[in-house]
């Protein structure tokens, strides 16, 4: 399984903070492709979003980053702390 997290406006827009998904994807890109099929809000937030931020196992990642079973993948908007 892969643990998928959504933060801030993504959490609100997608209606969930986290979920467990089967580890059937080799890259972040393929995970996004599957999630985008859930509906317009998913497509907008993840697939069409030029500002999408991605982390894999707490490190900054991108669409090409590989993922495997046990990984934690997080999707979020640009950060605004400090």
């Amino acid at each position: 399984m892969v643990n998928v997290l959504y933060f801030a406006s993504f959490r609100e827009m997608l209606g969930k903070a986290s979920e467990q998904l089967p580890a059937s994807h080799t890259t972040v890109e393929s995970l996004i492709a599957e999630l985008a099929e859930r509906g317009e809000n998913w497509k907008q937030a993840l697939l069409d979003n030029q500002n999408l931020q991605i982390a894999v196992n707490h490190d900054v990642a991108n669409r090409q980053t590989e993922i495997k079973a046990g990984d934690e993948v997080a999707f979020f908007p640009p950060v605004t702390g400090g």
Partner: protein
């Protein structure tokens, strides 16, 4: 062991907490055991009562537990590699805050002031674009708005490349 205790053992110079902090106390801790320090630069970020022209009543800070601490520690280590520093600490609050409240502290000690100024400025610029925190503002009428990332923060970070 509670997760927050594990994090603070792993990253003793990083704190992510709901509680407020006291500047003098933190600077005193930072300097403890460093008698060769000549300069301490601290930055305190505070909640402004106006943002983008609108009155702000409440600011709520969300973060990504685990990644936050790791990202902040990476930023801190990078600063220590770039400048000769004695010690440094980063404290970032989460949860609900109100105008004039303290949000973040970055404090750096070094032998000479130039290193301390540059390092503290660098840490803040990097924190702004690389640490997973998100701000949501609530206005006096109850409306909520996620704060947009600033282009100027991305520009500020690029300066250090």
């Amino acid at each position: 062991m509670a997760p927050e205790t594990q994090q603070s053992l792993k990253y003793p110079n990083i704190r992510v907490q709901e509680e407020d902090f006291d500047l003098s106390t933190e600077v005193a801790k930072l300097r403890e055991g460093h008698t060769d320090v000549g300069a301490v630069v601290s930055f305190v970020g505070t909640v402004r009562d106006i943002n983008e022209g609108d009155d702000v009543a409440v600011l709520e800070l969300e973060h990504y537990p685990g990644m936050t601490e790791k990202a902040l520690e990476n930023i801190r280590q990078e600063a220590h590699q770039r400048w000769e520093l004695e010690s440094s600490v980063i404290i970032h609050r989460i949860g609900k805050m109100y105008p004039t409240d303290q949000i973040v502290l970055v404090a750096v000690s070094s032998r000479h002031r130039e290193n301390a100024f540059y390092a503290a400025h660098f840490i803040m610029d990097y924190l702004k674009t690389n640490a997973p925190f998100w701000k949501k503002e609530t206005f006096p009428n109850g409306e909520e708005r996620w704060v947009d990332a600033r282009l100027s923060d991305q520009e500020a970070e690029k300066r250090w490349k």
